[in-house]
Each structure stands twice: as C-alpha cells, then as structure tokens.
Amino acid sequence: MKNINWYYPVSLSETSSLLEKESVVIHGGGTNLSGRDLSSVEGIICLKHLGLDSVKLNDETIEIGATSTYADVVKALPPEHILVKCLKNAANTPCRNKITLGGSIAFVPTWSDLIAALLALDAKLILAGKNQGELSLEDYLAKKDLYKKNLITAVKFKNIPHRSAHYRDAKTVNDMALFSVTVLLELDADVITSAKAYIVGTKELITRLPEVEAYLQGKAKADIDEKVIEDLVNVEIIGSRITDPDYMSLKAKIQTARTIISALEGD
C-alpha cells in the first residue's frame, strides 16, 4: 500500500494548488471515498477547514456551501422546499449527517435523491481551481471530465415559490432508491406556468421528461389526465438490483403521474 498524504488547506487558493497535484482526491463527507479502492490515490484533500458548510437564504437566492450535509440542508430550508422533500428520506440519519452536497454532485450515484431537484431548480455551481467561476449544473454534468481539477465550493439557485414532490422507489424505507421521480411546478393561481420533471435511475442515469412538461404547461389539476402522462413517459429503468426492467419501466410511468398529482395537492 502506497502512502497517502492528507492535506488540510485553509484557503481556496491553497486548495486549488493542491488540486494540481497528480492522483489527489477531495474529501467532503467521506461516505463515498471510504468505500473506494484508494490504491491509486496519493493524496486526500480534506475540506473541513474551508468553512464551506453554510446555507445562505434570502428572498432572491439560496446558496449552499459544498460541505453542507443533507441534514444541514433539511434543517435550514423550509419543509415544503423541493430539496427538503428529496433529501429528508435519502439514505439514513447517520449518512445524512455525513453526505455533502458537493460530494453528491461530484459523484452522482444512480440512486441520487439530490441531482434532479438541483437540475429542476436550474442550479449553478461555484467552482474554484483551474476553471473557476460559475457554471450551470447541467453543463457541469455534461462535461465533468473538464472539471476534474476544480473544487465545487457552493451550489446556488433562485428562491422561487414552487410546489414539488419526490417519489423514491426503494425496497425498504432506508434503502437506496432503484429509481426516483422528481417534479417541480410553478403556478399562477391554480394554473401551471412552468413544469420540470425528471426520473433518475434510467439507462441515461437522469432523464428529463420534456413531453410531460409541455403537457402540463397551462393546465390546472382538473385538466390533467394521469393516463396521458403515463403514455408520455417512456424510460428504461436499469441497474444491478433491477430484476424486471419492464415492470420497473411501467412503474415509472404510473409513479410519474402520481408524483405530479401529489405536487399539485401540496403533499
């Protein structure tokens, strides 16, 4: 076993310099790293001294530091916020006390309860390091390899009034999701003015549902036909724990429709 050096930077510039080294990895909460083969790792950069664990909330925007844990976010945001609905049941209590937002964005596991909510919120990442600046989460996910030498310092998004719902399909309440459905709606009175719908755990990992979103646009709850939504959802749910993909894909159709209705009902 080669020797691993731990680094404890106290500034972003120091962190950026450390990221230029070969074979270094970033330690946020450590839940992902602790299960990984570290034989090729020469250095671990611990972010604990950087103070990236704050949640800043104002009327316009919400900015969450990268080392904020799921538990921190659930505590800081109002209970009806989409992120709270998505994260309050993710993993389990001790894990929610450790898993960080930054780490979850960098790794994006197939069972992620976080990523669709952030995409629905049009989240932007604040990066330090080689390509420092702001970047949309969508662009980051599309070109992740470009940002290997970057540190996510925070994620930010508009503080918009919304209704939302999150469905996680898991064998037990604290199991990792086999797939999840996330819906974010903006309404004017009872009419949907903007809809975002995602399924995570698909063949593509994250699938946005533009046909469903277009169908919902301009409709009130009474105008929505769940059968139409089911017909518009055509995704392949895959993964090592899926034994019957056809059944799961059917389930995804039904649960998408139900999740939308649940969001409208404010559950």
Binding site: M1, I4, N5, I44, T93, C95, N97, N174
Partner: protein, 155 residues
C-alpha cells in the same frame, strides 16, 4: 499518522494508517463498545456521536476527525454502575436481545432525545432509520426510547 482525539471527554492519542477508518481506530484503542457490522453505513452498529450527531464510524476516515471534534461512544453516556436513563430504560423494557446493535441504537436515541425530548413513535422510528436489529426487536426498542423520554422529562 498520529492524532489526539477527544473521545468521551478525554484526549486520546491514537496512531493510525492514512486510509484507516474511525471504527478500526477506536476499536484498536480499546473502544470495543463501537461494534463492527456491515461496514457500509447500513446497520448502525458502529454509530458514534460526532459533535452530538450520529455518524457511521465505518464511513469516516480517522484522518478527517479533527482535534476539536467531540466523539462520544455508548460508554461515554453511562456505564454498568451508572447507566444513563436511556440505557436503564432499555434494560427495564427488555429491549436488548443479542445486544450487538444496542450501542448504536442507544446513541441514536441519545441524539434524538437531546433535540426532541418528546418524540412520537414515528419520530423514534425515523431517528432509528440507520439502525438494524437482526433480532428484530424493534417494538421494545421504541418502547424503551419512549420510556426514557418520559423519565428524562421527570428529572
């Protein structure tokens, strides 16, 4: 590597490998009340409190625990001669079967009752979502936490 950890209110000098997990470091230094179970964050046998919050020591690198961090194991809240109210409630209700999960569950209960002195059954179950009891004695465990809450209220 070497570090000074704060465990149960005392400074403990530890030696560990860079990739070593807190679970192993604690057990290697005599804190065998921290149990080694699934080693993947599912069972909660290895739970310790880090600054008052339950975490899985099997998912925590020792090198990432800072000197100012406060660790608490189940022996830090009470012992055989002076059990904590929660520990006594577990005994009185008969919530301990094989006992392997008990340290983690008692610590999860301790963290819950610190923040929520009167939890509902649902809130107790939610706080235990990271603890598995292979003897499946969950009913008694919930009863014990509720009894402990009641007794702590009267104190």
């Amino acid at each position: 590597m070497e570090a000074r950890l704060n465990v149960n209110g005392k400074a403990v000098k530890v030696e560990f490998a860079p990739e070593e997990l807190l679970l192993d470091t604690l057990r290697n230094h005599g804190f065998t009340e921290v149990k080694s179970g699934c080693k993947e964050g599912e069972c909660g046998a290895c739970i310790v409190l880090l600054n008052g919050k339950p975490i899985n020591s099997c998912l925590t690198f020792t090198a990432a625990v800072l000197e100012e961090d406060k660790l608490l194991t189940v022996k830090g809240i009470g012992n055989l001669h002076e059990p904590h109210v929660i520990q006594q409630a577990f005994v009185d209700i008969g919530a301990v079967q094989c006992g392997f999960c008990t340290p983690g569950i008692v610590l999860a209960s301790y963290a819950l009752l610190k923040n929520n002195p009167r939890p509902s059954d649902e809130e107790v179950k939610k706080a235990m979502d990271g603890n598995l009891c292979r003897c499946t004695g969950y009913v008694k465990i919930v009863e014990a936490v509720k009894l402990a809450a009641e007794r702590l209220q009267k104190k």
